[in-house]
């Protein structure tokens, strides 16, 4: 004991000379230590070390997490349990040993900060681990939740919190890289103390990140989410409902179809308690997407071969592109193998022909005979084009296998359009036309431009038999053997079609340079996922989950005479709100509207009371109109709400009117559309409890 104390004093003196700031801290510690020593009370000496050691960090790092840590540390001494006290002594002793080890390395100036960091980090880690084990969502937990008719409003609320919190972050990486307790310290990067702490914390965070991604529950969630069977998170959706109504709502609010991958992802992420864990899970999802793309496996819960649906959210469009690109790659492989085997068969046929002096077999290899009598292999022929025959050779016309155009999501369409407007370039059409010409030439040896036009642009060809009638149009089912002529506009000098035709070579589609590079497109999407702004991601997930809840609730409430009116008013509100661009400002209101629908389903008696209560209050105040009519005016008047963008004054009026009406409708004391949910005056204690539970961000 005495020896240790002497060592500590010696270190204090050494540190005193190194830096002014550190000397000041050491001096304070030295004085406190001497006071304790004067008292000559052993237990008090060790207890007193803690607050002194922590005080510098309190000044530098004033945060909730730190306060919680400090609070936790102070609790054991007050309990007065001897065992706890002895444990504390052991911890301090262990910390001191580490300090001694550092001293041996020869860097005495690091002694005190490292000593402090160890205690701090120990508590941070313990805290995080405890919370992780308690709050981590699991496959079992989420599966059990699907017994509820619609996703719980707490899940939607968590996504709303993420939307708002995410809008303050710069990127998803920032969310992951900034643990709650140390951001103030980072601002003082110049100080070696803070720098050391940041380095140590980063190492710890890397460890925590890898721990998260390898956590058993996370792995199970990923596997269930991407299970091709797709049974995970499936709810009963009333099949009696008109399909139009079920599919139209997600598109009206720019969400995603029910039971799609986006909606399931939204439900999982909404169950995590911290923004950082949400971000970590998203990165885990992106890694899985990369793996599926590499293995050319389809994403479940997304159509396999549909072009992007521009009325769904961008995330869903991007998932559609990934699956569509997988389909295209698979098709190209099959088509290439088919073409290659056909060519080998043709070579084999030639040998047989030479050896046996027999005519070449007509099947499965396709030939076209030129006027010179020569047989030429058809490459990339798909199917006969009706009864059309080539004008010069009389051979049947085959439609070629053609390349498909680009798969554009809404953001890429906007970029393309702006590019075209800015540069005047309309090259995309020419590229496709040239590709079609080359494929047509490969499939139809001996063809001329007129043959291509008859196939590609029938209105530009006039048959000779009907030459007296300019407006006659080629009918693909009608035999066509007589010559005709191109339209006047197609015969025009300088026509780009003829120039392209002269340029084109006979090359089948699968051998051409791709018009659309699938690898490049998907790589762009996956990179965008990694760099996606948090509010963009969580905003789309929020809207998608909102659409699912309303879609499921509609058949249950539309026939209910008590609630159908209120439900459709709520639905109209969310459609109008989601069609505006300022989602961040509306998530609170949307959550409360969702809670209203949830209450109508789970607590119909209570919801009925609230409706009657509102009616009574309306009668008392002498309002001439019923609450339903006023709600209809608010919700039904899309023009009024959308006019907000045009006139700020009108916006304010509408907001006031809406807020007041909803306030009187549910409870005169609370404002439904306030920025924060009502914390007092709530008619239901359970509701208040629910709100309190959902709001804190840990």
């Amino acid at each position: 004991m005495e020896e240790e104390q002497q060592t500590f004093v010696s270190k204090a003196r050494t540190a005193f000379h190194s830096a002014a700031a550190k000397a000041e801290r050491v001096l304070l510690d030295f004085k406190s230590d001497r006071e304790d020593h004067d008292k000559q009370s052993s237990p008090n000496t060790f207890t007193g070390q803690q607050p002194e050691a922590e005080s510098p960090h309190t000044d530098e790092n004033d945060s909730k997490l730190h306060s919680e840590s400090k609070h936790i540390k102070w609790r054991p001494p007050h309990l007065g349990i001897k065992q706890d006290w002895q444990d504390k002594i052991k911890n301090i002793r262990r910390g001191r040993k580490e300090v001694e080890d550092t001293d041996k390395v020869g860097d005495a100036s690091m002694a005190i900060p490292f000593y402090d960091d160890n205690l701090y980090l120990l508590n941070v880690k313990n805290d995080l681990e405890a919370k992780a084990s308690e709050a981590m969502p699991s496959v079992e937990g989420l599966t059990a939740a699907t017994k509820d008719p619609i996703p719980p409003s707490s899940v939607l609320k968590q996504l709303a919190i993420a939307v708002e919190a995410g809008s303050k972050a710069k990127s998803m990486k920032d969310v992951i890289a900034s643990p709650g307790g140390s951001s103030p310290a980072r601002e003082r990067a110049g100080l070696s103390l803070s720098a050391v702490k940041a380095l140590v914390l980063r190492e710890k965070e890397d460890k925590l990140t890898s721990e998260f991604t390898s956590n058993e529950k996370v792995v199970q969630l990923i596997n269930s989410l991407f299970d091709p069977e797709g049974d995970f998170l499936r709810r009963k959706i009333d099949s009696n409902l008109e399909e139009t109504a079920m599919t139209s709502l997600p598109r009206d609010i720019h969400g995603a179809p029910p039971e799609s991958l986006v909606v399931k992802l939204a439900e999982i992420l909404g169950n995590y308690k911290t923004l950082r864990k949400m971000a970590l899970f998203w990165c885990r999802v992106v890694a899985e997407l990369r793996k599926l793309w590499f293995e050319e496996q389809y994403l479940p819960g997304v159509p396999q071969d549909e072009i992007p649906d521009l009325k769904s959210c961008l995330l869903y469009q991007q998932f559609q592109v990934i699956n569509c690109c997988i389909s295209r790659k698979r098709f190209r492989i099959i088509a290439t193998e088919s073409l290659d085997s056909m060519m080998m068969q043709a070579n084999s046929d030639i040998k047989e022909s030479t050896d046996c002096s027999a005519e070449a077999s007509a099947s499965p290899v396709l030939y076209a005979r030129l006027n010179s009598g020569e047989l030429v292999l058809r490459l990339g022929a798909d199917h006969p084009a009706g009864d059309m025959t080539l004008l010069e050779t009389g051979e049947p016309v085959y439609s070629p296998i053609t390349q498909e155009g680009p798969l554009l999501t809404e953001d890429l369409i906007r970029e393309t359009e702006e590019f075209v407007l800015r540069t005047g370039s309309v090259g995309a059409g020419c590229s496709q036309l040239l590709s079609d010409m080359q494929a047509f030439k490969a499939a139809n040896p001996g063809c001329i431009l007129e043959d291509f036009v008859r196939w590609h642009s029938p209105p530009d060809w006039t048959d000779n038999e009907a030459s007296t009638e300019d407006s006659d149009v080629f009918d693909s089912g009608e035999p066509l053997s007589a010559r005709g002529q191109l339209s006047r506009r197609m015969q025009k000098e300088g026509n780009l079609w003829r120039e392209l035709w002269e340029t084109s070579k006979p090359v089948p589609a699968v051998k051409q340079a791709p018009l659309f590079d699938e690898d490049l497109a998907v790589e762009g999407i996956l990179n965008a996922f990694e760099e996606m702004h948090p509010s963009d991601l969580f905003g789309q997930l929020f809207v998608s989950l909102l659409g699912l809840g309303f879609g499921i609730a509609e058949p249950m409430l539309s026939g209910n005479s008590d609630f159908s009116k209120l439900f459709y008013d709520c639905k109209e509100y969310i459609i109008t709100a989601c069609q505006n661009n300022k989602l961040n400002e509306k998530v609170d209101g949307l959550v409360q509207v969702y809670e209203t629908v949830e209450k109508m389903l789970l607590n119909p008696e209570e919801a009925l009371k609230m409706i009657k209560q509102t009616e009574e209050s309306t009668t008392v105040t002498g309002e001439p109109r019923s609450p339903f009519k006023r709600l209809s005016l608010i919700f039904g008047g899309k023009d009024k709400l959308l006019r907000k963008s045009v006139s700020k004054d009108q916006t304010n009026d509408e907001e006031k009117s809406g807020r007041q009406s909803f306030s009187s409708f549910f409870d005169s004391k609370s404002s439904l559309f306030g920025k924060k949910p009502p914390k007092s005056g709530s008619p239901s204690p359970s509701e208040k409890s629910s709100i309190d539970t959902g709001w804190p961000v840990v």
Partner: protein, 209 residues
Amino acid sequence: MDSSSGHQEFDYLFKLLMIGDSGVGKSSLLLSFTSDAFEDLSPTIGVDFKVKYVMMGGKKLKLAIWDTAGQERFRTLTSSYYRGAQGIIMVYDVTRRDTFTNLSEIWAKEIDLYSTNQDCIKMLVGNKLDKDGDRVVTKKEGIDFAREYGCLFIECSAKTRVNVQQCFEELVLKILDTPSLIAEGSKGVKKNIFKDRPPQSDASASSCC
């Protein structure tokens, strides 16, 4: 309707889209509107566009008008340009019944599939009025279709320029009468990313790969 050229400040930016079968005169109609000229233009390859400034209701408007190829092979390419259009012009040829039939068979369905703007104004245009002697689609048929489909209707001739200005004017007036579209038009102005297309001696020519 006053018109001006060159890079200008403007109050609203609207996107218009022209669709319809190949050969009905979409490109000629657009050229007639923007240049007061008529040409027998080569078939459009993919998409083309023209920009026109107009004064209407005391406001200066910038119109970005997209002209699409009507051939089926170009349909995937042109489907991208429906996004965000405030006005869509559906064109048919009064001397070819199939171009009128395809309005409901093809083009109305394309609008339902690809248009992302629920409030967009649609206009039905019967072109080639100058060939009235060869007419096979009556004006009444056009009116009935427009009424049933909920869109504006006009017959015109790109060649003689009859009703060409009125066609676009009616469409834009209707857009200006729709608050949600006005809001979108204002939003486009803030970005102000668009620049005028450089003038070309031959409007039908286009640079490409």
